[in-house]
Point group: C3
Amino acid sequence: MDATVGALAASLGGEVVGNPDLAITNALALSKSGPESITFLGDETKTRELINASAAAIFISRSRVEELTDELTAKHTFVIVEDALDAFIATLKQHRSERARPQIGISPQAFVAESATIGEGVNVFPGAYIGEQAVIGSNCDIHPGAYIGDGSTLANDVTIHANVVIYFDVTIGNRVIIHAGAVIGADGFGYRFRDGRFEKIPQLGTVQIHDDVEIGANTTIDRGMIGPTIIAQGTKIDNLVMIAHNCEIGKHNAFASQVGIAGSCTTGDYVRAGGQAGIGDHLNIGSGASLAASSGHHKDVPAGETWAGAPARRLDETIRIVMAQGKLPEMRSTVRSLEKQVAKLTAEIKQLTVNQSEAA
Amino acid sequence: MDATVGALAASLGGEVVGNPDLAITNALALSKSGPESITFLGDETKTRELINASAAAIFISRSRVEELTDELTAKHTFVIVEDALDAFIATLKQHRSERARPQIGISPQAFVAESATIGEGVNVFPGAYIGEQAVIGSNCDIHPGAYIGDGSTLANDVTIHANVVIYFDVTIGNRVIIHAGAVIGADGFGYRFRDGRFEKIPQLGTVQIHDDVEIGANTTIDRGMIGPTIIAQGTKIDNLVMIAHNCEIGKHNAFASQVGIAGSCTTGDYVRAGGQAGIGDHLNIGSGASLAASSGHHKDVPAGETWAGAPARRLDETIRIVMAQGKLPEMRSTVRSLEKQVAKLTAEIKQLTVNQSEAA
Amino acid sequence: MDATVGALAASLGGEVVGNPDLAITNALALSKSGPESITFLGDETKTRELINASAAAIFISRSRVEELTDELTAKHTFVIVEDALDAFIATLKQHRSERARPQIGISPQAFVAESATIGEGVNVFPGAYIGEQAVIGSNCDIHPGAYIGDGSTLANDVTIHANVVIYFDVTIGNRVIIHAGAVIGADGFGYRFRDGRFEKIPQLGTVQIHDDVEIGANTTIDRGMIGPTIIAQGTKIDNLVMIAHNCEIGKHNAFASQVGIAGSCTTGDYVRAGGQAGIGDHLNIGSGASLAASSGHHKDVPAGETWAGAPARRLDETIRIVMAQGKLPEMRSTVRSLEKQVAKLTAEIKQLTVNQSEAA
């Protein structure tokens, strides 16, 4: 990517504010930017953070042009575009020569059961395994070492990364991406305690992953005991997350890494959970609720609320408690001092009373 | 599964209370039940929860028949059986055509070292790897991509799911089930800090998994430094659990997902740990102890006790503390108010004392 | 390993204090030691813990000889060596016949892309996959089922255990060890919320793992969005750890299992984190800082400090707060009692004042 700011702007339909002749040889994040690089003003970045940027030029979204000050335009060259991040990513992709999706078809080093159905344009890489009666839609990639169990069904444009394991009878929607090492459909953790030992309860349900879900590396989603565990459309799940049997996760949820959701929970739509949040079994998390990182839940969370802490409470309550906790050692000595003062006052009053009655 | 309640009851040796002619086309969980479905009264379900069930019929265990009220029998048809869950599962299995265990023997697409010993009735699926001197007992399933290291030994009827990794010299007991992606016998996290860097301490021990243990997907159990890490008979471990080197886990423990147990811990029998519980190194958790979800332990837990919180304390203490924490902000303002009142009282008493001495 | 203490000491250049004719048939940890076994005094073990050891003999480092008391030498035979642990491990290795590193070259059951470069002395085991333009340095082991993505580069003497997944364009330094099931270079968890759904932000960066890093089983390290996620030299990472996109981890850090580090964090050198510690995004953890097990961080941690708790604070503050929390229920009743006492005093003073003014 050797270009001028002007050429870059032209190729992206952008407008230059500043010097169009600056040379651009790299696209870098704001904090890493240097001479001859272009960067961008991210949605969550404030324009005043740009003042010390050492980038040659900066993409800015048209909707934020009014935030540009004379100080900023004096110091930097800007490229006004429809969307700064989109323009930056397009530039980055020009710079990094991305590999085209290969078209290898079914590798002779893969195993595909005779009764499996493979759609058009599918890649099944060496070492992948596709079981009996499995159905793979069109344009799916089944990467090396991935395992698709008997009777499992993938819709179209699904990406199954290396060493993913999908047990039997799981259904996967369109455009789903499952990252390496994730395990979908292992047995739920269900036992009865009888005669001094745990007796396994057969886990006869399955898992349904709906369209546009993305699942992170080494995440595990267990099959239901009777019915399906469900991950509804558009939900995004980070790495090392646990979703236990019988859960029904709503649409467009986002769970950060190491979140754990125990059995038979339900969530509404647009629920968010921060890293390492834990949700006890049989709970309902209402639509639009947010669970803070590290929070531990053993109560339902009403729709739209943000909860934090362990045990979790409404965020405002938790903040008040945490603030008060910080003052606890001080408060403890205040209470001790109050005890002494009150004892002293009690003695003094007693004396005053005695004096008064003697005087009377 | 198209049958009448009467036919179903007859096939399971059950007794119908209500209408034996109702048609049954499905077996569903209580909360999902609908017309033409049969459900069951689970061990942890109360009979009053049945009143709004929309199932055609309900399995109930003989031991709970006395809980049936006239209201319930007026509304629903019941099938009295020895064990409601067992009957329900039997019905479910009739409904879902389970696949028979395949008999593929040793796949030509698997790797089996010449010095390995493979028992009778074993399946070694494509892409599985069995190392030198490994011993596989009879009727084991080694699923695709599973790795059995050199010198590791499996007893009989063991199920190793896809992409499990068992390092060298690990021993696995009878009827053990290890779910996909679990790693048994990786090096313990042992280093010496010398000359400004961490120097690896060789991990020369191994792992012993005893009979009837089940291990969840993507769980990791490290090999001991000198001796074995041990998981004793009947213990059940959920997904994404970490058991560090040198731990000796007792019999019939149950660990929910994302539990972490640091190095050299010991547990008695029948220990239970809720999701995400963390146990510091070199601790002992006594027999029958329960560790709450999200609890963080840095002290031994005596046998039979339930501990919760982080840092963990006895459950009753933790509950008192958590309740008091909820009142902390209020208590803080009470203390502030007390300070003011005491200051005022102090001043008033001072004045009273002055007045008194003047009057005297 | 059948030897006398004397022969063992001679082979290791050690000096016997006690009976050199004792027979040694085993090397065991202190807590497991028995007759005919040799054990060692570990760095963190106190000499008084040796008094009840049932080992025949004990290795002790020369630097700690002065700690030997008459009572100890009367009871046990010691072997003085340069370093007790080193001597013990050497003995253990004699005892356990370690397998030599095999020299299998490239297995015909592995997949190696034609454009890949494989160094001298490399083992590529059955079921391993090496992508286009990948470069494998000399003397590396790529174990069964491991996946090296297109364009990824391994330096020399690297060990990639079974079923590890390394996505494309990742670079791995010399002597790096990656344990089974770890995933390096999966997409960072990056989305924009637009039009009611999460839109994937392409993750165009990579991962750089520097020399002498060790990564535990089933750990995940995501690729950067724009630049690289970096793990600097000598850092050791335990199992099931999550390191999110854009993190830059310093040299010689040590992270225990289940630690989670959110996106764009930086750490200095010699940072340590206990099990299950969680670090929020965009934080900096200063050199030499220690994060306690189970701690939850949402603020930067200054260099050299130890922080604990959730939300985390300086260890001394956290200890004071935790101690005070233990006294909270008691303090709560003290405050209640103070309220009553103050109310009573207020009434008494009012009465005294009335009396006084009447008397005046």
